[in-house]
């Protein structure tokens, strides 16, 4: 049996470390350590790397509740907030990279992108929707909002759908990779629908 103390002192720091690893890898690529390189188009390499890891962590976050059901153990729930916040950190940096490095703070160009290009519209919307979730992720906010907190945090479902959709829409032709993300998301959300049906009284 894992104690709260063990979680606090060992497992949670380990989870933080694991979540930070892609960022460390990116730093090593930036510093060109050990033959690691960002390649010929570094701005886009950073932007895409951050976006992909943000989306992966979002899916991992969403896997925690089904994992609790499958294992019958409560511990996966203790990592949801941590994973969700890391996902937000990656996706916020993903947007900052696009804004600062790719578009060089060209505000009118960015607004045009958000308005005119549907895949950017939905990606931007997903990140904006994540902000209230990140802000209200603290225990204090959770107490203050009471029952509404859970309702608010159901936003994570449309956010994840928008994120996967954004990925699917942006690829030029080869949709195999985004389809894997969409498939995983479908399983994770399907799990919840199935569970909800089970709970509902047989009609």
């Amino acid at each position: 049996m894992v104690t709260q103390r063990q979680i606090r002192l060992f497992w949670r720091p380990l989870a933080h470390l694991a979540c930070a690893l892609p960022l460390v890898y990116l730093m090593l690529e930036l510093a060109e350590v050990g033959g690691l390189r960002l390649g010929a188009n570094p701005q886009l390499a950073i932007r895409d790397f951050l976006g992909e890891w943000g989306l992966r962590l979002l899916l991992v976050t969403l896997a925690m509740t089904p994992l609790r059901w499958v294992t019958g153990k409560p511990w996966p729930l203790q990592y949801r907030r941590l994973l969700g916040l890391w996902s937000f950190a990656y996706l916020a940096l993903h947007f900052v990279t696009y804004f600062v490095l790719d578009r060089a703070l060209d505000l009118s160009g960015i607004i045009e992108d958000i308005v005119k290009r549907p895949f950017i519209t939905i990606g931007f919307l997903a990140i904006v929707l994540m902000i209230p979730l990140a802000v209200t992720s603290t225990a204090g906010w959770r107490r203050q909002l009471g029952g509404r907190w859970l309702t608010l945090h159901k936003l994570v479902y449309p956010i994840a759908i928008l994120g996967c959709w954004h990925f699917y829409w942006l690829v030029k032709k080869d949709v195999r990779e985004p389809l894997i993300y969409c498939g995983i998301l479908a399983v994770l959300l399907g799990f919840r629908v199935w569970k909800a049906r089970q709970r509902a009284p047989a009609g």
Binding site: A40, N41, P42, L44, L101, D106, R117, F119, K172
Partner: protein
């Protein structure tokens, strides 16, 4: 046809010859690695080009070259699209090792006096190779400066006596799933096909390319024979060509078949006509290294800066509809 130097190159791309030469001597004497990229005939530093690539001889420079400094050999050969080897831009370099570009034969057929199957040498050898340093603009809004080595396509085509019925030229890429792992998946309809109007094919800027940076074309860049049409998006410049057909009707083209709303037959570089999913108004000049992280995009030029030479080909054509 009147060949004029393009007038819409950014002033920043043009270096006065005196400065140019001074910089060469300076950098040379300093033993600076990048100095070679400033030579009028682009030769990367010898230690940058792997010895396995055979150096091409008798290559003459061309007045049609841009004076902008070319991208590095690494950038040109390590970051590109060649879906036959995979859809990631690092895939062509990583997955093309098994490809055998020689011996090579090309079938030339259709509306021409001389048709048949010809080997590489009989197509290339009668011509003098030229170095053409061209701007290259991908439809994905990135660009490079690339020192191609090749022959004006028109000079080659003329030898096969196209008839008056030849209105278009169609091209086809080789299909070898065993050597080209990307062809194992139907991401696109293989073989990759492309086409040009006869006027575009005969235009002096249109190049049948056999090399880059003074060496034979690496597999990942479309060995041993590819097309370069510098005023069109990169996907028009078909690679590893095994068939050239003179046709009366407009031939099908792969990306147009795949997504007709996004890719047209002409695919001329045009900042005023956006791709449905992204803007074509600006482009990112590919530049590796942390030092280029804060480099900004640059405006895309109509016909990729070759308006003066090619705009007349499209007189009376609505370019926003015929994208």
């Amino acid at each position: 046809m009147l060949i004029r130097k393009t007038t819409d190159i950014k002033p920043s791309e043009i270096t006065p010859e005196s400065v140019f030469l001074n910089r060469r001597t300076l950098l040379r004497s300093a033993g600076f690695l990048g100095a070679s990229t400033l030579l009028p005939q682009a030769h990367a530093a010898d230690d940058e080009i792997p010895a396995k690539y055979k150096r091409l001889t008798g290559v003459r420079p061309s007045p049609l070259s841009t004076k902008a400094a070319p991208n590095s050999f690494d950038e040109i050969t390590g970051y590109n699209n060649f879906y036959e080897f995979g859809t990631d831009k690092a895939d062509p370099a990583a997955e093309s090792g098994r490809f055998r570009p020689q011996p090579w034969k090309v079938k030339i057929d259709g509306e021409a006096g001389i048709t048949g199957t010809f080997d590489y040498d009989s197509i290339v050898k009668p011509h003098t190779l030229e170095e053409r340093i061209y701007r290259f603009r991908c439809v994905e809004a990135w660009s490079m400066i690339i020192p191609w080595v090749g022959i004006p396509l028109g000079d080659v085509l003329k030898r096969y006596n196209p008839t008056s019925k030849a209105k278009y030229v169609a091209f086809e890429t080789v299909v070898r799933p065993a050597e080209m792992p990307g062809q194992k998946y139907p991401v696109l309809d293989w073989p990759y096909v492309e086409g040009l109007t006869m006027a575009e094919a005969m235009h002096p800027l249109t190049l049948l390319v056999v090399g880059v940076y003074g060496v034979e074309l690496p597999n990942q860049n479309g060995a041993p024979l590819r097309l370069i049409v510098p005023w069109k998006y990169g996907f028009k410049s078909i690679k590893s060509i095994v068939r050239i057909s003179f046709t009366e009707k407009q031939p099908p083209t792969t990306w147009n078949l795949s997504a007709p709303g996004e890719y047209g037959f002409y695919a001329n570089v045009n900042p005023a006509v956006d791709h449905p999913r992204w803007s074509q108004a600006s482009e990112r000049r590919v530049a590796s290294g942390v030092g280029s992280l804060f480099a900004s995009r640059q405006p895309t030029l109509p016909f990729n800066g070759y308006s003066a030479q090619v705009a007349s080909l499209y007189k009376g054509l609505d370019l926003s509809r015929n994208f």
